[in-house]
Amino acid sequence: MSRPPRQPLFLARQTYRWRRATDAARLLPILGVLLFLFPLLRGGGGTAAYSAYMFMVWLALIIAAAFLSNRLSPPRNETEDEDGG
């Protein structure tokens, strides 16, 4: 049994954008980790300023996630995981 060709080599614009959105969704938590751990490099400082920084990062992550979730929400039934899961 020969496998049917899995995926076309080039994708339509919409699908391409959707794929990149999934990439971004995967990268977002990594960015979050970096930003949240960043203060550790500096060692310490004023609580008020750090609080502000933390909550800013937090809010930015939430907004980014909301944006991406909106992009990803229309369900795609095609093979979703190009990395094979």
Binding site: R26, L28, T47, S51, R76, G84
Partner: protein, 895 residues
């Protein structure tokens, strides 16, 4: 001040409100009006069971002690949700396709449905969660006591215990009522989830209200707050890198592995798309929950008296400022946080305990295995209810035993670490096909043990469970086994030390054992199903119930049952539900009936899988497949048996046909025999009559003619007599009625006498030669009959041998327990086509008058030999007619 009675009344009213919410939600769900009950908002809010009383009250206390570090508890879950595309999406999909009921079920299902593994996870979960439930009870009683301090009438401690009992009992009642309404794990607990969502709103509003009150009511705006922070002991934050990263990781792990989180996140998930909303909405919820924590802590530290419990600032600040409304709201928020956690945790735990510990034991005790009869459902429900009560009782007992101690306050992170031990097996199981059951067991047991040794047991304090000496110097004085400094790794925070050792060694054991083993077929299949879940399952679909589904079922049933029968059945079911048309609601009852109906055609397992495919949106599990295979095997066996039977029947038919043919043949032979006999009798009779008429006539005859005619009559009469004798003889022989006259004699003698007798009368000259052994062969048989055969054969040779100088060779040979006598002449022999009929009656070759016999001789010989236990056969290819008489020697001797 709020009197105690009014507080209790508020509490009871709030509880009654929650009951009502749950009840209404259940009602709506039953009526099929799901609507907002399954919205992403409800899902997101239900996830807030993560925020327990420990976080509601404790976050402020945490901030008052350690500053900003408290956010790590929320950052971990935020990262997991923001990264939902990695893990949560897969987890939820697996949960739906595999019909997962709990985290223990997920682990056991992934590793070949191992109940042992499920039991380990269940025990781990119970050990980790019971103290947590106790913590919730404690926070409720503490919050009551805060009001009690303000009350005029002083409370006694027994009041606190009574409060805890009442709260525990009320929670147990609620959970049993709304958490065990039905069995099917795919059915959502709509009532519970809705109530939890309401509670989530209450606690969020409460905390925000306190925050707003503190910032703008007490401190006087954000700017003022910043100043106050700068003046407070929390002004400077020093980041402890290990703790910061460690707790972030721990809370990220906990959001997935906590039994209650798994329950709302995966099991209660109604639609995969809700996860997309929750991916930002839940972090937003956490964000709002922690927004005012630092200001509250700072203001609390500055306004509350020295030594006040910072865990209760959320309550004590508004109370001390006289804002009773805010305080009451805050109290209800804390109450909500505590109760929602206890309710969901006990549902999750009871499912696990009942499915993986109680039911296997019950089935084992019953001894009959899972022969599902009606009452199993009742047993499962009962075991769940009892499990809920048991979990609640355990929590209460734990609270009574350790209540108020430091141990209980610290239990939050300790519990996180405990349940996080599931993480390697979980993540490994859904991303790595090589993960095996042995590996998971090894990892879990290692992690569980190290967690208990380095964190849980020491948390009871020196002298609690572990002696001070053990904590200080390790068991038996072995320093490098000290619970807080394994292998000499001292100087780490005890929590981080435990997290590091338990999870590292857990992962190492899991990987090493997985790599070295070979999984069972079921494990490998399940592994493939889990890891490649997106390739095996259909896309995002909701749990839509309705016409489309019923139509699919109808289409399928028509194919199997035939369209008329299927339509009748659907129509009947629809009108039974009071609906017109052919599409009934797919109620469990109807599905059960349909499944049974289909099972009649395709087998139970197949029909279950087919209906499940359409209704459950679930992929066929390996067990289903195995059941289907079993059924197919049974059917194949059945059809093989049928085939064998039909073969047997056709064999019998063939035998009957053969018998019939034989009978017809025999009947034909009989007819032929009769006509032969009458013909044979008729010929001599005719000549006798003719000649006797001549003799009787008056015509004078010469004397010699008279004599000749008389001779003819005489000869014919003799021939007639001989014929009748032969016929009589043959009939006796054929019917086996012959009386054998057994006596002992020598074969050589018999032959000699037979030769003499056969060659005595007039006729062609025949030279007889004797060949082979001349030793005496002693026989015990009917020698007269045997002689008759010999004489017949010799006479035949004499009569029919066509050679010019006829010669007969008689050869005697002893051969393997039998003696053979060959009679071979030098004539032309018998033509091949006639060889098969020479032993038949009246078979005569060539000119029948030539020999003057009736053609019964060889037939008689054959019958005689059969009666003597031997046989006679024609032996072709001997240079003439050759007959072989065989007589078994042993029979001959024995006879």
């Amino acid at each position: 001040m709020i009197p105690f009675n009014i507080l209790v009344a508020v509490c009871v009213a709030y509880a009654a409100f929650l009951f009502a919410v749950a009840f209404v939600a259940e009602r709506r769900a039953e009526a099929g009006q799901l609507g907002w009950l399954r919205s992403p908002l409800i899902y997101t809010l239900s996830l807030s069971v993560y925020c327990t009383a420990w976080t509601f009250y404790g976050a402020v206390g945490y901030a008052a002690r350690s500053g900003l570090e408290f956010v790590t508890i929320y950052i971990g879950p935020t990262l997991v949700f923001v990264g939902w595309w990695w893990l949560l999406r897969k987890l939820v999909r697996i949960g739906r396709t595999q019909r997962i009921t709990s985290i223990a079920d997920l682990i056991s299902s992934r590793y070949g449905k191992s109940n042992f593994l499920a039991a380990i996870v269940t025990i781990l979960a119970v050990v980790g969660t019971t103290p947590y439930i106790a913590l919730q009870l404690q926070s409720v009683t503490l919050s009551f006591s805060v009001f009690a301090l303000e009350d005029l009438r002083p409370w006694v401690p027994s009041d606190l215990n009574a409060t805890a009992i009442w709260v525990a009992a009320g929670l147990a009642l609620f959970t049993v009522l709304f958490g065990t309404r039905n069995l099917d794990a795919n059915e959502r607990h709509h009532g519970v989830v809705t109530a939890i969502a309401v509670e989530a709103l209450v606690k969020l509003l409460a905390l925000l209200a306190v925050g707003v009150f503190v910032v703008w009511g007490v401190a006087g705006g954000m700017g003022q707050v910043a100043d106050r922070i700068a003046e407070s002991p929390l002004a400077e934050t020093t980041f402890q890198g290990g703790r910061w990263a460690g707790i972030t990781f721990l809370s990220a792990a906990a959001i997935i592995t906590l039994p209650r989180m798994f329950q709302v996140l995966v099991v209660e998930n109604a639609d995969e798309r809700h996860l997309a909303t929750a991916s930002w909405a839940f972090p937003l919820y956490l964000f709002l929950m922690s927004l005012f924590v630092v200001p509250i802590a700072v203001v609390g530290l500055q306004t509350q008296p020295e030594g006040a419990n910072p865990d209760l600032f959320v309550l004590t600040i508004p109370l001390s400022m006289g804002a009773e409304g805010v305080a009451t709201l805050s109290f209800l928020g804390g109450f909500s946080a505590a109760t929602s956690m206890v309710i969901v945790a006990s549902i999750a735990l009871s499912t696990m305990v009942s499915n993986h510990i109680v039911m296997p034991l019950w089935l084992y005790v019953q001894g009959r295995g899972a022969t599902v009869s009606g009452d199993v459902r009742r047993v499962v429900l009962m075991s769940r209810r009892l499990s809920i009560a048991a979990v609640m009782t355990l929590g209460y007992l734990y609270f009574r035993l350790t209540g108020g101690t430091e141990a209980l306050a610290a239990i939050g992170l300790i519990a996180f670490t405990g349940v996080a031990q599931v993480l390697p097996a979980l993540v490994g199981g859904i991303f790595w096909r090589g993960a095996t059951k042995r590996g998971a067991v090894a990892g879990l047991l290692t992690g569980f043990f190290l967690w208990g040794y380095t964190l849980f047991l020491p948390s009871f304090g020196p002298g609690g469970v572990m002696s001070p000496e053990l904590l200080q110097h390790g068991p038996w004085g072995i320093e490098w086994l000290r619970p807080h400094a394994l292998l000499g790794v001292a100087g780490l925070d005890p929590l981080i030390h435990a997290v590091f050792w338990s999870l590292t060694l857990n992962t190492v054991a899991f990987l090493a054992v997985s790599l070295s083993g070979f999984p069972s077929p079921l494990e490998r299949l399940q592994g493939a199903q889990f890891v490649n879940v997106f390739e095996h399952s259909t896309g995002v679909q909701g749990w839509l119930r309705g016409a489309a589904e019923a139509e699919d079922l109808l289409v399928m049933s028509q194919r199997i049952l035939g369209s008329e029968k299927a339509q009748t059945m659907f129509h009947t079911a629809a009108s039974g539900q009071g609906k017109a048309g052919y599409l009934p609601d797919t109620t469990p009852g109807f599905l059960e009936q349909l499944e049974r109906e289909l099972a009649g055609s395709v087998g139970a397992a197949t029909s279950h899988a087919m209906v499940g495919q359409i209704v459950g949106r679930s992929s066929v599990s390996v067990e289903d497949l195995m059941a289907v295979a079993d059924e197919t095997a049974q059917m194949m066996e059945h059809s093989i048996q049928l085939e064998a039977k039909s073969e047997e029947i056709s064999r019998t038919a063939r035998q009957l046909r053969e018998a019939n043919e034989k009978l017809t043949e025999i009947s034909v032979q009989k007819d032929a025999f009769l006509s032969q006999v009458s013909h044979e009798l008729r010929t001599p009779m005719t000549s006798i009559r003719a000649f006797s008429e001549i003799l009787k006539s008056d015509t004078p005859l010469a004397a010699e003619d008279r004599a000749r005619y008389s001779q003819i009559i005489h000869d014919e009469a003799i021939r007639l007599t001989r014929l009748l004798d032969d016929l009589l003889d043959l009939s006796v022989l054929e019917n086996g009625e012959v009386q054998l006259n057994t006596q002992t004699g020598d074969l050589q003698d018999l032959l000699s006498r037979a030769i003499t007798a056969a060659t005595a009368s007039d006729g062609p000259n025949l030279r007889v030669a004797r060949d082979g052994t001349t030793d005496p062969v002693v026989l015990t048989t009917d020698t007269d009959r045997l002689s008759q055969v010999f004489i017949n054969l010799i006479a035949n040779a004499r009569k029919y041998c066509t050679a010019e100088t006829p010669r007969l060779t008689i050869r005697v040979r002893q051969n393997k327990g039998s003696v053979e006598v060959d009679f071979v002449d030098n004539g032309d022999g018998i033509p091949k086509r006639s060889q098969s009929i020479i032993f038949e009656k009246f078979s005569r070759l060539g000119d029948r008058n030539a020999a003057g016999g009736a053609g019964l001789g060889l037939a008689i010989c054959r019958e005689i030999m059969a009666n003597l236990g031997g046989d006679i056969a024609y032996v072709p290819g001997q240079g003439g007619a050759a007959f072989r008489v065989r007589l078994p020697l042993d029979v001959a001797k024995a006879a």
